[in-house]
Homo-oligomer: 337 residues x 4
């Protein structure tokens, strides 16, 4: 791969949402990309930040102008665009939930809708640090959700090593900045309602990401217990933390966890296992594609893990570009910081 | 007035908006008040914070159950309720803009609508520190707007003394917390759009409060120049600052201003003229009915005044209760802090 | 008890800290209190907000001028003042950690210091909803810590009923506004460091409140497992949430928990068990003495509890006044909202 | 200039302060830079974010290792380092106030200190859009202050055209995020003191930047009146707004201002004159090197200008790199967004 390689022509659907804006912002600085279009039905005609483009309606975009599309559309709408783009020979990086689950049944359960293109459910799950071998050179990828990304990266070394106590619940107390809830104004997201507040939502097992997280946990450790997952809305714009509490097998001392994690992630450019005693915070990762992880062994048998990402970067746009880099054969870190 | 006086039965229309919520919160602690009802069409049936009541629709409220009503309704709607309540012999404290302007022409100009009850435009303007003599025992009052309250209290000693240079512009750079924009969700008030931001709006002479402020300035000093008024939206929930810049007459040294202000406001329970060198900030006043004022003479000829209030208390609900106290013959500070 | 009862003369030590400020603010509105003095070594001579007083140095305060003192001093200093005040026949309400633990050994372990007055460790623990019967008319009380208050109120109905699975860990993921860290400026509490951030600290079992919480849990349920406790610093000024995850005994269905909690707290003026499906948030409680609790049963065997308070009110100053009311025979809610 | 040009070896002094951190962050992504060292006495030994370096003490840095140094040091200390570096043949980009003023008398007046190296006061003032012709290929530059940058860019087209009414005051109501106050913790910058607050400081003509701004105004328009300048501390991390109010000469209609500004800044890569009616806000510029300007003509004779920058980028580190690019012959926008 050299600098003289021709630029990839890229289109971004849903480019006015928060994830879409970050896709554009990152691609605008990417050394191997030319942005061909950025779509938005709501903001058509307005300038696209960080570019010289104007938003165009989704249906005005020409697939023949691009090599790759990023889909930052609502679930349901996204699968249809993915199918169309694929039929035109265009590579697809889908940031929605439409391609993440493995079966139409699961999709029906968590999204209360019939999947429009079940064949697309075979699309690989783009959690690069776990599935890198499956992602080189593919034509379509499902970018993981924000909570699943932080949760799965926080659990991966334990799951792979098989050291979590079977059937013990995996407790995830999660916190997200408000961009995670999207750009559409709603009463509970009105500035004065959020300012100074902190609120749980979709507590227990109600959040849609429970299905996605348990699906991926199950592939790595079939004996893992149920997920108990409570997300909270935090009064900041970006940042996502999963605070994970697990019970370990008797033969795996909690104090061995730091070494296990350092080995697992030593070569990863975007995963930072913090020094013992340090605690991962939003400031470690916002505006970057990094995931910071800190570990606190408790009483020898329990492990408390804090896994932090920028919900819009590693949790969406940055991870999407990381997948794009793998698809196109670029350096995995190209355009990312 | 004694503790044994019967309680005033009070109704609050529009009690789910931010100003209405604060009216209820203050009245719930008021020693001489019994809240009879709190209306909200949008939140009917839900509990009213700080009370044992539930919101009822506006039209379900019974005027025969109350002695006084507070109207925290949108302009246009408010004048109609005021006329009806008055016809039932119920006292009216109107927090909307409907009763503040002196003529139907002015209302048409600034609110782009025909006034529904022009006779009500004779209602006294409830800026207590300026108009106290007019407000004792009246049956209806127009509570001043938030920006007019801070601006007029900041200028009053100068206007009354006639020391502002004729025809020189009065520059007011204002800043308000987001509750000032109301409770209805809008794209530009969505949490992530406001967070970390600071933005001017309605700059120059576009804001509706320009008409109200100039009307009241003109009554105190007919020679005063035009208002240049730029409000800004600040990423906090409550607080309002007017930063005022005036050119003084040659025979009034700017350094005499602090004494002028202290004399004007010495006996006022809610106006705090800060010591020389101190600067008025949101923290001086939020959650109180106070207005804090600081003064900076510049080069002998100019005065920079900072006048700060809580936009929902002294700028709305608190000032409304202050007027209520005057109307009913209670201590002016009853129920207020 | 009538309005004509003589006022209690009250002194506040450490009145310039955040908890001390709130003690003064609440007492200034209390119907049965006259504030005699407010001490601060750092701010001596400056005005005390919400009063006409000036701060005086701790050593200038006269115990003969008061019936009761509130101590909002650092641990270590507080026990000495408590002993002195008690010797003068003055009632003591201590907001520090000095009187909370039951043994000098425990104090040594968690505070790394020899307790200066071990006899004071017999002082009753002022968690009113749990220990009310022990608190009427006493002369000294230890006000519980902020995290212990929210955690213990969140667990109390389960502990009293004995329905938590023995030896299963009790996981508490806690979040606090920054006033909980005190008023002294520190690098990690500098505005730009906290703004936009969220950070765990003292994770696992390192926080001093672990000792206090486990001590009180043990009195209610001797079989309860170890506490796993991770507090987080949230970028707001006030508010404290404990997110509690417990494993229940097989014979207690998680779905029975809401009824258990409603019965336990039905008559409590300051405890709000929210309707099923609602989630407790900072907005439910800030600037009040209330504790809001929401419950999420999971898979029949686990219970997720969210317990929220204002760290400075129910978590400090308000609970202190609630204890003061009990000590003096006033209505428990006097001066509180 | 080609990609094959050797990298400039750069050292950053004072790299742990907020401006220094942003210098490092920008240089780490700069295509023509290799960072040789980053100094900090307070954080020596700790990792330097966005690099593989560790902070070293100022005195451990080797000037022979670098071609250029950025000085992000306190005033006083900076001039000494500048003189030393220059004596070693190293180019200097100074972000402090030490090289900005034109005379030792002015420095004495505004900084209350004798200038340590008055000969350095001949250093060119690096406000690129005004002084570009003076800045190509120089060996030392004084990077303008944050408030002067926004104020002067906001006024430049008017000053150059000579259309401001002589002797009329130029009123600047300014607002800055808290990083502008530096990284050292102080009581008034403690998180809970700033949160929810807005406060003026150094009002009137007390702020040190008054001297710098008036010096540069005077070079462009000798008849301009006095500056009235009140900065405010805003509860966000970054962003700086100057709200400027000027009185125009009778023969220059305020409505002609937008055309004047568009012509002046048409070719500037970092200056954005917003469309009529739009208002410049923090969101237009934070994390970029841009200055956004909006214009509101008032009554034909007055102009209200809003000029906004990121105080750490265009107001410090970004503008420093812009100067670096000019010094070294790189594209002016290299490494900047």
């Amino acid at each position: 791969m050299t600098e003289s390689q021709p630029l990839q022509r890229v289109g971004v659907y849903g480019a006015s949402g928060y994830a879409g804006q970050d896709v554009v912002r990152i691609l605008a600085q990417h050394p191997h990309v030319e942005i061909a279009f950025a779509t938005s039905d709501n903001y058509a005609g307005e300038p696209v930040p960080a570019t010289d483009l104007q938003y165009i309606p989704h249906d005005d975009a020409s697939l023949s102008a691009v090599d790759v599309v990023f889909l930052a559309l609502p679930h349901g709408a996204s699968a249809r665009r993915a199918a169309t783009a694929s039929a035109h020979g265009v590579k697809v990086i889908d940031l929605s939930a439409d391609l993440r689950l493995d079966s139409a049944e699961s999709y029906q359960r968590w999204y209360s809708a019939t999947h429009p293109h079940p064949a697309l459910l075979a699309t690989p799950y783009g959690l690069v640090e776990v599935n890198r071998a499956l992602l080189h050179g593919v034509d379509m990828v499902a970018v993981p959700g924000c909570y699943p990304t932080a949760t799965l990266l926080g659990l991966y070394p334990l799951l792979r090593a098989g050291v979590i106590l079977p059937d013990a619940p995996i407790i995830v107390d999660a916190k997200s900045g408000v961009t995670g809830a999207g750009r559409a104004p709603k009463p509970h997201l009105h500035f004065p309602e959020v300012y100074g507040n902190l609120t749980p939502y979709a507590a227990g097992r109600a959040h849609r990401h429970v299905g996605e997280i348990e699906q991926e946990i199950g592939k790595l450790d079939a004996d893992a217990g149920a997920l108990i997952f409570t997300p909270h809305l935090v009064a900041v714009d970006r940042g996502l933390m999963t605070s994970i509490y697990v019970h370990l097998k008797p033969d795996f001392p909690a104090d061995d966890a730091p070494t296990l994690y350092r080995r697992a992630y030593d070569a990863e450019p975007f995963i930072d296992v913090l020094p013992d005693g340090a605690q991962a915070s939003f400031k470690h990762v916002v505006h970057t594609n990094h995931c910071a992880i800190s570990l606190t062994p408790v009483n020898g048998r329990y492990l408390h893990i804090t896994s932090v990402i920028d919900n819009l970067v590693k949790g969406a746009a940055g991870q999407a570009v990381q997948n794009f880099n793998l698809m196109c054969g670029f350096a995995e870190t190209a355009g990312l910081c």
